[in-house]
Symmetry: C2
Subunit: 252 residues, 2 copies
């Protein structure tokens, strides 16, 4: 897609991989970035293992304009994201004195001991720029083109709002869907012809189960691009192709 | 974890990345494999771009015992998984005559033309072993240690059930959760001590939003391993540590 920036997302946490905890962050990140002209091109879900985090961060930060991580910046033993980001950049993970003092004052006021484990929340890779939010005493941060955020959705969202101020923007990306009661095989040839006519538009086809919670129709066509009028005309062509075959189809 | 096999999952589809279509397959795959002693160690969500699929498949099939892909084996222009898997293995994507005949007969019986686009459903990489299901005329397949499945959840699940017959199994993995009303920082030191005592057990800590749909408690501890009695005793120790600090905590 023309004039858009690219991003990768790294979701860090063993339980995201095993299905015990379902990710609630990727969709929000992607939907927040697309109107800014930044497109998520790859997502990796990886365990709390330093070498895995190092490898993913280094593979993705050189390939995409931005990398966003979620998870692993809390105070428990499995929170190793900052150590790992520092290792990925070959720098030390160092105390952020201002953050340390804020957390220390907060915990002291609550009568809670600021243990060595909890103190790790005040560390970030050397050269990181802290990104403070009004509502969390633990900030996210930026290290070059890598943005490190909490895994808890409410806090992640606040951090992302602040991070938007640090990002360059591209041409906004829009999308529009068509829902249709047609078998994919029945419409595939017509759909391919429409796609060929619109090389700057991305048409995706997503068949749905009978018990789909997303749509009562058999298939969803998602039409995406940077030119709103071309998106609209592409959707019209898909609708026309469905109706010409005698299939129900609606914009959605 | 001892005596377990490893797996990676590749979820293929542009719209999974943009949040328009939410993945419903990863959790099911992970939860199905864990009792068989196969642990998902990495997941990548990638777009419908051949080189991306090739790179992900080749990176992961050499690193993990098994790789499972979902999506991109239908009849539309964005269904390029089989072409890409073939490219990853350096073989041709060839017609599977028996599959071709079955689909052809089915579509002919419904009066639908078997277009060149739809015919691509009958192709698989040279040397692939087709994995048929009773309820889908389009099979999944195995190519070495890579298992290729549909993206539609209902069909994916049927394919995975059949695929289980092709997999070696490891020692079954169990898990048990403790939900607690404690701040992570307040329990982190005790939790780390418990983790250190149980190196073969994996303790994850997942703080929850106030409006979490998963738990009414502030944090979920997921305790995972292959030894059920050690999992139980680890949970007991976490409960005891929470209660000792005056925090509510329950097994779940």
């Amino acid at each position: 897609m023309q004039n858009t920036l690219t991003a990768a997302v790294i979701l860090i946490g063993n339980e995201l991989l095993s299905g015990s905890i379902e990710d609630q962050n990727l969709a929000h990140i992607a939907k927040t970035l697309e109107p800014k002209g930044i497109r998520v091109r790859e997502t990796r879900i990886i365990p709390d293992i330093e070498q895995e985090i190092v490898d993913a961060v280094n593979a993705l930060r050189s390939k995409y304009d931005y990398v966003f991580t979620t998870g692993g910046i809390g105070p428990t033993h499995d929170d190793i994201t900052s150590d790992s980001i520092a290792a990925a950049f070959g720098v030390e993970n160092v105390v952020q004195q201002e953050v340390f003092d804020v957390i220390n004052a907060y915990l002291t006021s609550k009568g809670v001991e600021f243990t060595p484990a909890a103190q790790r929340m005040a560390y970030a890779p050397e050269g990181a720029e802290m990104i403070k939010t009004d509502q969390s005493i633990v900030p996210g941060y930026r290290k070059d083109n890598v943005f490190v955020m909490a895994g808890v959705p409410r806090i992640m969202r606040m951090m992302l709002d602040d991070i938007l101020n640090y990002l360059q923007t591209g041409v906004a990306i829009y999308n529009q869907s068509v829902h249709a009661n047609v078998g994919e095989g029945e419409i595939a040839a017509a759909l391919e012809a429409i796609q060929t006519q619109h090389p700057n538009i991305d048409i995706g086809s997503y068949p749905q189960d009978k018990d789909s919670t997303i749509s009562n129709y058999r298939v969803i066509f998602v039409v995406k691009g940077t030119d709103e009028s071309e998106i609209a005309s592409t959707c019209d062509e898909i609708l026309t192709a469905c109706h010409a075959g005698g299939y129900e189809a609606v914009m959605s």
